[in-house]
């Protein structure tokens, strides 16, 4: 894997019984860049995400994550919580999965669980109220405060997450993922259901995460304005295979991509494009 790449997917295949959801998919995501995964509904994008983030075990193929110091992590061999804990890959979900009965602040505290568990001496130091635990807790609260402020939720830190408006919930989920200090952030349709203003502020948030935190972002999205505005690289899928890959400008004019979205075939798309406005 070249020094620029943070994630490389090679020949990823996912089969469910007789259905092949993802077929021999290969692409790479670059460090500190935003890579978008787009395609019509049912193309297999969320399945790819679930493979990368350890919710499905791929039928075949490899997914390699490059760590900062150069070593590689084989994601297909990790599963479950380890992908977040050891490989530092975080994700959000298509249907927001917050902890609705807990406050926004508590949600962000849960995200820092692993660090806090260590600091609490596997709970025992915490039970006796050791000073090292207390300062670790304070640092965690400060980090939560920082992220809440970043998305304008500081005033609502003590509100139940389930009570927050939808746009706020989406943003809270993203900063909750950021509290795990990931190197790769996978976002599943973060702009779904957001209006124009909210989408714009989402784009701004993601761009600042990329530049300030240096986190690489992998993104599934249907909202083309967001995709075109923030992506450095786009991968297009349809029916489980990659049909195009490249910069936003390239992908936008690719007849295969247009055909896939229109449900037409390629010749018709080219004809429409050549006919001009």
């Amino acid at each position: 894997m070249s020094g620029e790449q943070i994630l490389r997917i090679d020949h990823l295949t996912m089969r469910f019984g007789g259905i092949v959801a993802v077929n021999d998919l290969s692409f790479a995501a670059e460090r500190r860049k935003v890579t978008a995964l787009i395609g019509p509904n049912g193309a297999g994008k969320t399945t790819v995400f679930n493979c990368i983030t350890g919710f499905y075990k791929p039928t075949a193929g490899t997914m390699r994550l490059a760590r900062d110091e150069g070593s590689e992590v084989a994601l297909e061999r990790l599963n479950d919580f380890r992908i977040s804990k050891h490989a530092k890959v975080a994700r959000t979900f298509q249907n927001v999965r917050l902890f609705p009965g807990m406050t926004a602040l508590e949600n962000l505290m849960v995200a820092q669980h692993n660090a806090l568990m260590l600091a609490s001496g596997l709970t025992f130091l915490g039970l006796i109220g050791a000073p090292s635990w207390r300062s670790a807790e304070k640092r965690a609260i400060d980090r939560a405060r920082f992220w809440l402020d970043r998305v304008g939720l500081l005033e609502r830190a003590d509100d139940a997450a389930g009570n927050l408006p939808y746009g706020d919930q989406r943003r809270l989920e993203i900063v909750r993922a950021m509290c795990t200090e990931p190197v790769l952030l996978c976002l599943d349709e973060p702009a779904a259901g957001l209006n124009t203003r909210e989408s714009a502020s989402l784009s701004e948030l993601l761009l600042s995460i990329r530049s300030d935190q240096g986190t690489s972002i992998l993104l599934i999205e249907h909202d083309m304005s967001v995709v075109m505005e923030i992506s450095d690289h786009i991968v297009v899928m349809d029916y489980g295979v990659k049909i195009a890959e490249g910069s936003p400008a390239m992908v936008r004019d690719d007849p295969k991509v247009i055909a896939a979205y229109l449900g037409a075939d390629e010749e018709e798309a080219i004809a429409v494009m050549e006919a001009g406005p």
Partner: protein, 305 residues
């Protein structure tokens, strides 16, 4: 070998009874997604209904056994079905959209109500009856001199079970009600939108389950010659084990599971120890759920993330 053959026969007969109860569990779980903790006690009520109606008929001077059995069957099925309907109406329907623990605790409460109700109403002591269907056939005599027998009661139990299974399978596959039940199992909201009376379908599911449990109760009375107020609890857990073993939501699975549990219990008591036969049944449940969470014939669930 002959001893084994006898245990095989006994186990299959016991298993038929468990299977009839298990069908009730699996149907209810399939359609409303709850374990009906009171179902075992419905089986017990069915046994009592059979006992009491039998006593009354005999005291009126009826002697024709087939006639008595038919009347007892109909009466106990009808009344027990009404019990099943009432329990659903009172304890489960108001909680259908509540959170998961509420109907479960309500069901547990209902289970206590039913078992203690029969204890209060009929006294705590076991009720024995003399053998109602005597006699049988000696199938063959083995080399050791052990005679493998098939009693008339056993034949009645098995035939009744088969007949009911056939009726019931026809009901689910061919009738309107069966189609409605299958629709509600898949997607209640959509079924309602398409004109299915969801409330009535769910009620009928409980009613049918209760009727089958009543038959099981009557078979139990005929086979073992006694009923008591506590027989619902253990039989209930075993029947639920059978339903899970066969795959929750699968009707042939429930019967298969019932037969399996009956065989395991009978063979275990015959060859190992009688005291721990219930432990064997419960352990099977745990082992099955660890390795086969969806049972033998169940549909695997893929977790949607």
């Amino acid at each position: 070998m002959d001893y084994f053959a006898q245990q095989l026969i006994n186990g299959l007969v016991l298993g038929s009874i468990y299977g009839l109860i298990a069908i009730g569990y699996t149907m209810v779980y399939g359609i409303v997604g709850m374990i009906n903790f009171a179902h075992g006690d419905i089986f017990m009520i069915g046994g009592f209904m059979a006992l009491i109606s039998f006593l009354i008929l005999v005291s009126f001077g009826l002697t024709a056994v087939p006639v008595i059995l038919l009347i007892v069957l109909i009466v106990s099925m009808a009344i027990t079905a009404l019990y099943g309907w009432t329990v659903e109406r009172i304890a489960y329907r108001p909680l259908r959209h509540s959170f998961r623990l509420a109907p479960m605790l309500s069901a547990i409460g209902m289970s206590f109500v039913l078992s203690n109700y029969s204890q209060v109403a009929q006294g705590a002591r076991v009720k024995p009856v003399p053998p109602i269907i005597p006699g049988g056939y000696a199938l063959y005599t083995g080399a050791s001199g052990f005679v493998v027998q098939l009693s008339n009661v056993q034949i009645v139990v098995v035939i009744t079970t088969i007949v009911l299974l056939l009726i019931f399978t026809w009901l689910v596959a061919r009738t309107r009600l069966g189609r409605d039940m299958r629709a509600c199992e898949q997607d209640q909201t959509m079924a309602a939108l398409l004109g299915v009376d969801v409330d009535r379908t769910i009620s009928m599911t409980f009613v049918i389950g209760a009727a089958l449990a009543a038959v099981a109760g009557m078979m139990y009375l005929l086979y073992y010659g006694l009923v008591d107020f506590f027989m619902g609890f253990v039989a209930g857990i075993k029947a639920f084990t059978a339903a899970v073993l066969g795959g929750i939501g699968s009707l042939p699975g429930a019967m298969l599971g019932g037969l399996a549990i009956g065989l395991i219990e009978t063979l275990w008591s015959a060859y190992f120890s009688v005291e721990y036969k219930d432990v064997a049944a419960f352990s099977i449940l745990i082992v099955v759920l660890i390795f086969l969470p969806t049972g033998l014939l169940g549909r695997p669930e893929v977790e949607k993330v």
